[in-house]
């Protein structure tokens, strides 16, 4: 079952938001409106892509993560890190240094997310090859894309690969490792270092899964600063404590980058990154204009997770570093290393494969004007009539992203036509609305401040 309300880690800070239209106009699902001079995110439309955050000129949108101190609520504190974290640092800082800094900060173990690939890749290949699968199979990796498909491309929910992404597999493995040692969940804290808001949403309200074994999430930019400071303070001493961890495979390191899935999964595979590119592609896929493709990897961010909203480094440099790191690592399909550690994920392969499936991904279309089709038709007629009287300039001054969005808000009882500046002007000139009424409407959208005359003004 999926929760009725959707967790979003993206929050607008009302004390900072200046009530402009930047976020509203870039949101790919038209999930933002301006009310009382502040941006408001509509919960069931938002897919957590982070576009609004990237485009905010005053940094009023932030990603809410867990308090770092929360890790100390647990006796065993595992940092679950994506490979893309190591790509954030300059080339002269080693992976071992980064992970030992995490231990200094208070974690008792560091584990890399992409060990999950060692389990997933084979299962994914099998899923794609299965003749019963709806072609093309769409990756379940990027939670923003899974949500985008649910709200905008409901027919394609049937194409989503119903397998856990590496993060969930790795988390399950860690939980099992500790449970097997007799350490139960209340003593074990698994903390994921996230490159984006979408992953947080996926952990706090999972799609196709009942629960997540992850105890908390820490933003990558926050942890980057802490690690960087720690490495600088301690110098590059060789004496730093190096956590003993298994090396990742080259496929693992590359997985979260563009082509990371499409390359190792066999058949005709495509990789598409950046949400607008993905939307264009899904439109065509839905019409069956594109066929004979086995698998598509779709990512919301340009350069995939290297371009996550919480990434610190330039995304192209991060990709270069990760490629360099991968070049020296064994392949997933190579022989199993002779000295496989106690903690190796391959040891719990059978258990993980048995738990790798997720439930169906259900559509939850946000495009409908009404649940009842006859009502929806009425509203559509009404909307089309309204659209004819609106000016089609898509100025955003009504607090909606464009004229059509305002018309749809009006027929759904969420806005009034007088929010349109052009209509108001007509109403004033015909005597239907007075100046005070007009002022009240502007204030309800843009707040009181914007109409006040600044002291310095002489116009």
């Amino acid at each position: 079952m999926e929760a009725k309300s959707f967790h979003h880690a993206l929050k607008v800070r009302d004390d900072i938001c200046i009530g402009c239209t930047h976020c509203m106009t870039v949101c790919p699902t038209e999930a933002i409106r301006v009310r009382n001079g502040k941006a408001v995110i509509i919960d069931d439309r938002c897919v957590d892509c982070g576009m609004c955050l990237r485009n905010c000129p005053v940094k009023a949108i932030h990603i809410e993560h867990d308090d770092f101190k929360k890790i100390f609520d647990f006796e065993h504190r595992v940092a679950l890190v994506p490979a893309v974290l190591s790509g954030q640092f300059p080339e002269d800082i080693t992976v071992a240094q980064i992970y030992s800094a995490l231990m200094e900060l208070g974690f008792t173990a560091v584990y890399e997310v992409e060990h999950g690939v060692e389990i997933l890749l084979e299962a994914a290949k099998r899923f794609v090859k299965n003749p019963a699968a709806n072609q093309p199979v769409i990756s379940s990796f990027c939670p923003a894309i899974v949500r985008l498909i649910q709200v905008r491309f409901p027919a394609l929910t049937e194409n989503v690969m119903l397998l856990k992404p590496p993060l969930d597999i790795a988390a399950l493995h860690i939980k099992k490792l500790y449970t097997d040692k007799g350490i139960n969940s209340d003593r074990l804290g698994i903390f994921y270092i996230t490159p984006c808001a979408a992953k947080i949403a996926a952990i706090k309200s999972p799609v196709g899964e009942e629960w997540s074994p992850i105890s908390g999430v820490i933003n990558m930019d926050f942890i980057f600063n802490k690690i960087y400071k720690s490495i600088k303070q301690n110098g590059k001493s060789e004496s730093c404590y190096l956590p003993k961890i298994d090396p990742l495979t080259s496929e693992g390191v590359m997985w979260s980058l563009t082509h990371g899935e499409a390359t190792p999964i066999q058949g005709r595979c495509l990789a598409i990154d950046e949400i607008h590119n993905v939307i264009d592609f899904l439109e065509k896929l839905e019409n069956e204009e594109i066929d004979d493709i086995d698998f598509v990897e779709l990512r919301a961010c340009d350069e995939s997770c290297a371009g996550g909203v919480l990434a610190v480094a330039n995304r192209f440099l991060a990709v270069e570093r990760l490629k360099n790191r991968a070049a020296n690592l064994p392949s997933v399909s190579g022989p199993i290393p002779s000295e496989m550690s106690e903690e190796s994920i391959v040891r719990s392969k059978e258990y993980l494969i048995n738990h790798i499936a997720i439930d169906d991904v259900n559509p939850r279309s946000m495009l409908m004007l009404d649940e009842n089709m006859a009502e929806a038709m009425k509203k559509m007629n009404q909307r089309n009539r309204l659209l004819k009287s609106l000016p089609q300039v898509d100025c955003g001054a009504c607090g909606a992203p464009n004229c059509q969005a305002l018309a749809e808000d009006i027929v759904q009882g969420k806005a009034g036509i007088e929010q349109c500046f052009f209509i108001r002007n007509r109403q004033i000139s015909s005597g239907k609305l007075n100046m005070a009424g007009s002022t009240a409407i502007i204030e309800s959208i843009w707040g009181k401040k914007k109409l006040k005359k600044p002291e310095s003004e002489n116009i």
């Binding site: 409901p154 027919a155 019409n287 204009e289 279309s365 004007l369 089709m373 038709m377």
Partner: protein, 141 residues
């Protein structure tokens, strides 16, 4: 509700636009996504046929709560033998059209497969009319 669209023959860059528009309308009307898929797949093939084989055409979509009825009326060479054209793999598409990835001869059979009723009438050297009917909101589907 009635919606109308124009289609230009030979313009492969915009082929599929009418299908996308109708798809958007059906989503807004909360039609079941499986029905939308059938309608759009059939319509897209019919739209591409106007682009690939005719000079120009019009699409008239009639939507009500129990069925979607779409008529595609074109001016073009017409189809001399409709039964033959309906066969899987039959195509008169030029090599140019084939190079663009169209002309596998599966369009008409796919339209048939995805609709509840389909009517094709044609007059050689005048044009073709295709009617696609899909029942929606049926208790069993």
């Amino acid at each position: 509700m009635v919606f109308e669209f124009e289609v230009q023959g030979g313009d492969f860059a915009t082929a599929g636009n009418a299908s996308s528009q109708i798809k958007k309308i059906l989503k807004q009307l909360n039609v079941d996504h499986r029905d939308i898929k059938r309608i759009v797949v059939a319509l897209y093939e019919a739209e591409v046929n106007i682009v690939a084989h005719a000079f120009k055409g019009r699409i008239i979509a009639n939507i009500d709560t129990s069925e979607v009825r779409i008529r595609l009326v074109d001016e073009g060479p017409g189809i001399p033998d409709i039964e033959l054209a309906m066969q899987q793999g039959y195509s008169t598409a030029s090599s140019e059209v084939r190079e663009m990835g169209f002309g596998a001869g599966m369009g008409l059979p796919n339209m048939k497969k995805n609709t509840d009723e389909m009517h094709v009438t044609s007059v050689v050297d005048k044009g073709t009319t295709v009617e696609l009917i899909v029942f929606i909101n049926q208790p069993t589907t």
